[in-house]
């Protein structure tokens, strides 16, 4: 069972602000989702996946990167080709 406190903690880790009402609703939803997983846990089957579903790899071949102006296009603030971020240390 997930408690209001767990959801609050997760919201904090996810850097999301939530209201008291949301908190209640999210806790209910969290528990409903986890109940589905309990059902899935009850399914018996292959422990490991099919071999054919493993080792999906690509060769070490290059593909074009984006032009710098496109990369910076979504950034709120830039400086000399860098993305400017608030102080983090």
């Amino acid at each position: 069972m997930v408690s209001d406190k767990d959801v609050e903690h997760i919201a904090q880790l996810a850097d999301i602000g939530i209201t008291k009402d949301d908190l209640r609703e999210f806790t209910v939803q969290f528990n409903a989702i986890l109940d589905y997983f309990d059902i899935l846990d009850g399914v018996t089957g292959e422990e490991q996946g099919e071999d054919s579903l493993c080792n999906v790899l690509r060769e070490d071949d290059g593909t074009p990167s984006l032009p710098q102006e496109d990369v910076l296009g979504n950034a709120g603030s830039t400086e000399d080709g860098f993305i400017r971020a608030p102080r983090v240390m």
Partner: protein, 474 residues
């Protein structure tokens, strides 16, 4: 008080493209944010795909360091918010790493070989690079470059088996050598290797030092930290279990208490990537000749000493350089010049052997072998060559330098005049020599050498002096 050290070493692999996308890894000389695409920017709807060569490289390391490769390994998301991660998580490996339980031998402080156990090796993506702007310890803001974001890294984790900062440094140096021999790592690449260290004094809590990014930094950071911890214990205080950052420029570690300690990474299996089942690949991996094998071969094939062989195989570029020289010249003679003279001059200048072109060096040493120039003059010429090369000036050929500075070995008559002057200026020495005092000859040779700026061969000078004295009936 016993010191207990464990290391986590992150090494960039030298693949052509990133771990999960086709962006080029060759970004070192390019402007920021020019080697990024929707995948490594973590834009919605994009899917990572695993670079086969990165997996092969990591397995090569695993095999060389005697690790086991489990049947199945898996990527995981490590969630945290920091601007170096565009996605809000890093793709790494958590409870199912690529390889586990290996070991690596180093020389301990007493010179004996000792096994350092390796816990695991896993693959992960490098985060972006941050440049903190404005005001030392309290930057005003940060600049983010995602060119590095997604470069394949291997993280090598050791058991807490290291006992001193010197040992840790030797470990890192030898690891670097092996990784370069394996052809998966470039030690000259800036920021290619980063280290976190766990360190404790026996009986006290453990401290993690992050952000060590140079070979010398390891020893410096650990030495500082041991002194700090021992001082605390001596004063009856407790070592706090915490994460500290190494400030390279100041040579100290500082506490980074606070938020970082509360990390809860909420690891979970990466849903966008299939598991790896690569246990069977190990057998097909052919390891290249590693440093110890090459050292033994050098001794066997070239007849050089253990010391020279060890020095010359200490870095793959140096070993390649030596072999190039040894193909052209007598190998023992070549070893002396490369290991003793050239390497010393190169290190003194803070250069790397890869900056030295073998051909002019071979030309110079050949002239020494042929007796066209003395050892001493050759060292002078070598210094000039290295200085020119380091300053990016046009490099003169050794023969040009010798001619320009008139350093060619002159013989016979050229010296007769100088020797006569020295003899007449030092009658006492001549008399001593006549009465059988050999050291007087050394003195006279020294005087002539001085007058000829060391161009002459001292043995030959001695002979010339004796001949001349005989002629004059002394």
């Amino acid at each position: 008080m016993k010191t207990i050290i464990g290391l986590e070493i992150h090494c960039q692999l030298t693949t052509a493209t990133k771990l999960f996308c086709g962006c080029s890894t060759d970004y070192q000389n390019d402007p920021p944010n020019t080697h990024v695409c929707p995948v490594c920017l973590g834009l919605p709807g994009t899917m990572p795909s695993i670079n086969r060569r990165a997996v092969e490289y990591a397995l090569r390391v695993a095999k060389a360091l005697h690790l086991e490769v489990p049947e199945v390994s898996e990527f995981a998301r490590k969630n945290y918010f920091y601007p170096d991660l565009p996605k809000g998580y890093q793709i790494t490996q958590y409870d199912k790493p690529l390889a586990v339980n290996g070991y690596f031998e180093i020389e301990d402080d007493g010179g004996a070989e000792r096994k350092i156990r390796l816990t695991r090796i896993h693959l992960e993506e490098d985060p972006g690079r941050l440049v903190h702007k404005g005001g030392g310890d309290r930057p005003k803001y940060s600049l983010v470059d995602y060119n590095r974001s997604g470069i394949p890294l291997i993280e090598i984790v050791t058991e807490p088996d290291l006992r001193s900062p010197k040992e840790a440094r030797r470990f890192i140096n030898r690891l670097r050598t092996i990784l370069e021999y394996l052809g998966v790592f470039d030690g000259e690449r800036e920021g290619g290797l980063r280290i976190d260290a766990n360190i404790s004094i026996e009986g006290s809590d453990r401290v993690e030092i992050k952000n060590i990014s140079s070979y010398k930094g390891v020893e410096k950071a650990l030495t500082f930290e041991i002194t700090r911890q021992k001082n605390l214990i001596r004063r009856g205080l407790k070592v706090v279990r915490e994460t500290r950052h190494f400030q390279e420029a100041r040579g100290i570690t500082t506490s980074s208490r606070g938020k970082e300690e509360e990390h809860d990474y909420r690891y979970f299996p990466e849903p966008d990537l299939s598991p790896l089942m690569v246990h069977g690949w190990l057998e097909g991996i052919d390891l290249p000749e590693l440093p110890t094998a090459r050292r033994d071969r050098f001794m066997r094939d070239y007849g050089i000493s253990l010391n020279h062989a060890r020095t010359l195989t200490g870095a793959i570029r140096l070993a390649d350089f030596y072999e190039r020289v040894a193909r052209e010249l007598e190998p023992v003679f070549a070893a002396t010049w490369v290991a003793d003279t050239l390497l010393g001059e190169v290190n003194y200048r803070g250069m790397d052997i890869s900056e030295v072109r073998p051909e002019p060096f071979i030309d110079l040493i050949r002239m020494v072998a042929e007796g066209a120039v003395t050892d001493r003059s050759a060292v002078d010429v070598l210094r000039i060559m290295l200085d020119q090369c380091m300053e990016g000036r046009i490099c003169e050929a050794p023969s040009e330098i010798i001619t320009r500075l008139n350093l060619g070995k002159t013989v016979g008559d050229d010296y007769a005049e100088i020797i006569r002057e020295v003899i007449s200026a030092n009658p006492q020495a001549v008399e001593d020599l006549g009465s059988g005092r050999k050291e007087a000859l050394n003195f006279l040779v020294g005087q002539v050498m001085k007058a000829t700026r060391g161009r002459a061969d001292p043995l030959e000078l001695g002979r010339l002096i004796m001949d001349l004295l005989k002629e004059e009936g002394v």
